[in-house]
């Protein structure tokens, strides 16, 4: 009985996880005019079309900028924060940890609406800076948590050892702390990048003339044009994410940090 059970359940779970992905890939290879599964013949025309749509190119650029820039900003803020929380008895340390984690818990819709209502509208704050701010805040929890995890695995006395061997305090951080948490920092970068790139709810509120992230642009495109190019773009993005995670696992043992 159970000998049959296990593979069946496993099969269903895999189908549930991978099924949509397969459908999207198949649909994107369709030769027909509308989004359909099973595909209406086979062709690469919609994959090629993706690169010809002007707005996709612009919004891809904006999404990349937000994902890379926002993640870097989150790391610049998050690494020192994680370091301070790990090494020193910070007053209200637990509270700070909770506040930093808040963007994970608070629904994105609320974050987006709040930024729009209380930052963009009253202060004429630009959409792009607001998006940048929002994405940085969303990535910060990952940066702090993942970097904290690698810092906790690192003994504090190696910094004292470096100081006694002639290094300054700051020098010790860059010479013996950074190299040992490099894996965690890269893991945080990848997590942050993927989180930001796939972000919908916050970005939904923060769109303006000419400023749209790629997922929002795809939504807008689908409302007007129901052709398979959206499926093609989704498939391409999924492969990009897969590629990043694969490389990270291959070279860093990514799964150790997440």
């Amino acid at each position: 009985m159970s000998r049959l059970y296990t593979p069946t359940i496993l099969g269903l779970v895999l189908l549930f996880l991978i099924g949509p992905f397969v459908i999207i890939i198949a649909a994107s290879l369709s030769a027909g005019e509308t989004l359909a599964f099973p595909p209406d013949g086979l062709s690469l025309r919609w994959v090629i079309k993706v690169f010809e749509v002007e707005s996709f190119r612009t919004s891809f650029g904006i999404s990349m900028f937000l994902a890379i820039g926002g993640t870097l900003a989150a790391l610049v803020l998050g690494i020192p924060a994680a370091y301070a929380l790990a090494r020193y008895k910070v007053p209200f340390g637990e509270t700070i940890r909770t506040v930093v984690s808040a963007p994970i818990i608070v629904p994105g819709i609320i974050v987006g609406l709040a930024l729009l209502r209380y930052l963009v509208v009253p202060f004429q704050f630009g959409i792009l800076p607001a998006l940048f701010l929002a994405h940085t805040a969303l990535i910060l929890p990952y940066a702090v948590r993942v970097v904290s995890a690698s810092l906790n695995n690192l003994r504090g006395d190696i910094e004292e050892a470096a100081v006694l061997l002639g290094s300054s305090r700051t020098g010790a951080f860059f010479r013996v702390v950074m190299p040992n948490i490099r894996g965690g920092i890269l893991a945080a970068f990848i997590l942050g990048f993927v989180t930001s790139f796939n972000q919908v709810p916050v970005s939904l509120f923060l769109s303006g003339p000419g400023v749209r992230t790629l997922p929002i642009d795809m939504l807008a495109y689908m409302e007007i044009t129901y052709d398979p190019s959206v499926a093609a773009l989704s498939a391409l993005l999924a492969f990009m994410s897969l590629g990043i995670v694969f490389l990270a696992e291959r070279f860093l043992g990514f799964s150790r940090y997440v």
Binding site: L154, R155, D157, I158, E160, A161, A162, V163, L164, L165, G166, S167, S168, G171, R175, V176, P179, N180
Partner: protein, 342 residues
């Protein structure tokens, strides 16, 4: 500066809020000495060591090293080495680079660097391990890398934090010999911190016993072991039967008790090791409340009018039954004479 005052602590005090970790400590250590700071946890020995290294700033007092006041000199400019209890090797660097770390910061490069690192590794017998990562080494090997890393810097003083406590019994013996050899060969001044009196007795030229942030006694291993001056030190080195003296009598929980012979002049207390208690005859009586076999000896716990007494006999003698009433003596001539109480 004379060589006997190579490192001087003058009225050194370190306090955290209202807690005094080290109070008004004076200590001179000579050039080339191998000194142990011995005491139970919380006695201030680690705080003292960290203050010497410059990792803690004293509340008041002065630290002089090689004739220079280094109290305000930061840790990275003090020329004091420290071998951490956990070794604190840099996990991302191999053995060679770990040892080279400080030398590189000094601007030493090329052949000179290689020679000095190889020299350091040779001293600790790890020449073949230069390209290994710390994680690929045993605890004993990691410790020797840590020792080499500090030694190649030619520090004026080398501090060692519980150097043997993380090693198993056999390695401990090996490392003890190794430390003594390295110290004699290099002539470096070494101070090691330990809570283990056996370690201190075996390794040090001189022992500083600390308690509650102050020095309790300073002496050679023989002096500390045979002539403890206070009840704490006496108990710490195995004189487990300690009595205060008053007007030539022993103060016990049940009142004053006579000594079996005249009290020595000057002593304010007497202490006996369990092995010094003469079982079988004598003016005192006790009831056996516990006994345990310890290989070569047998240990007894006696209930006596003087309070509990620990005694020890040769295991080849017939064992005394539980509840047996025994005569015994506390021979005054053998006792350690304490000059201080409390």
């Amino acid at each position: 500066m004379s060589d006997s005052r190579y490192l001087s602590l003058e009225k050194l005090t370190l306090s955290y809020g209202n807690t005094i970790a080290v109070g008004d400590m004076n200590l001179d250590i000579g050039k080339g000495e191998l000194v142990a700071l011995l005491g139970p946890s919380g006695c201030g020995k680690t705080t003292t060591m960290r203050a010497i290294a410059g990792l803690l700033q004293p509340t008041s007092g002065t630290i002089r090293l090689d004739g220079v006041d280094v109290t305000r000199v930061s840790a990275n400019k003090r020329a004091v080495g420290l071998v951490f209890q956990s070794y604190a090797l840099f996990p991302h660097l191999n053995v060679f680079e770990n040892v080279a770390f400080g030398l590189r910061l000094k601007g030493i490069r090329g052949r000179d660097l290689e020679n000095r690192v190889e020299g350091g590794l040779k001293t600790v017998g790890l020449s073949d391990f230069a390209s290994r990562k710390p994680a690929e080494l045993s605890g004993g090997q990691q410790q020797r890398v840590s020792l080499a890393r500090s030694m190649v810097m030619e520090p004026k003083v080398l501090l060692l934090d519980e150097p043997l406590s993380n090693l198993d019994a056999r390695l401990r013996l090996e490392m003890r010999a190794e430390l003594q050899r390295v110290q004699k060969q290099s002539g470096i001044t070494m101070i090691f911190v330990t809570h283990d009196q056996v370690e201190a007795l075996a390794l040090a030229d001189r022992i500083i016993v600390m308690l509650n942030g102050a020095i309790e006694q300073i002496g050679t291993p023989e002096e500390i072991y045979n002539h403890p001056v206070s009840p704490f030190v006496a108990d710490f080195v195995g004189f487990e039967n300690v009595f205060a003296l008053e007007n030539g009598k022993m103060k016990t929980t049940a009142g004053m008790a006579d000594l079996s012979s005249d009290a020595p002049g000057g002593a304010v207390g007497l202490a006996w090791r369990p092995s010094m208690v003469a079982l079988g005859s004598g003016p005192y009586q006790g009831t056996v409340r516990g006994s345990s076999f310890a290989g070569g000896t047998r240990e007894y716990l006696l209930d006596t009018p003087l309070g509990p007494i620990k005694a020890e006999t040769d295991a080849s003698l017939a064992a005394h039954e539980f509840g047996a009433v025994l005569n015994f003596d506390l021979p005054v001539a053998k006792a350690a004479q304490l000059s201080r109480l409390g």
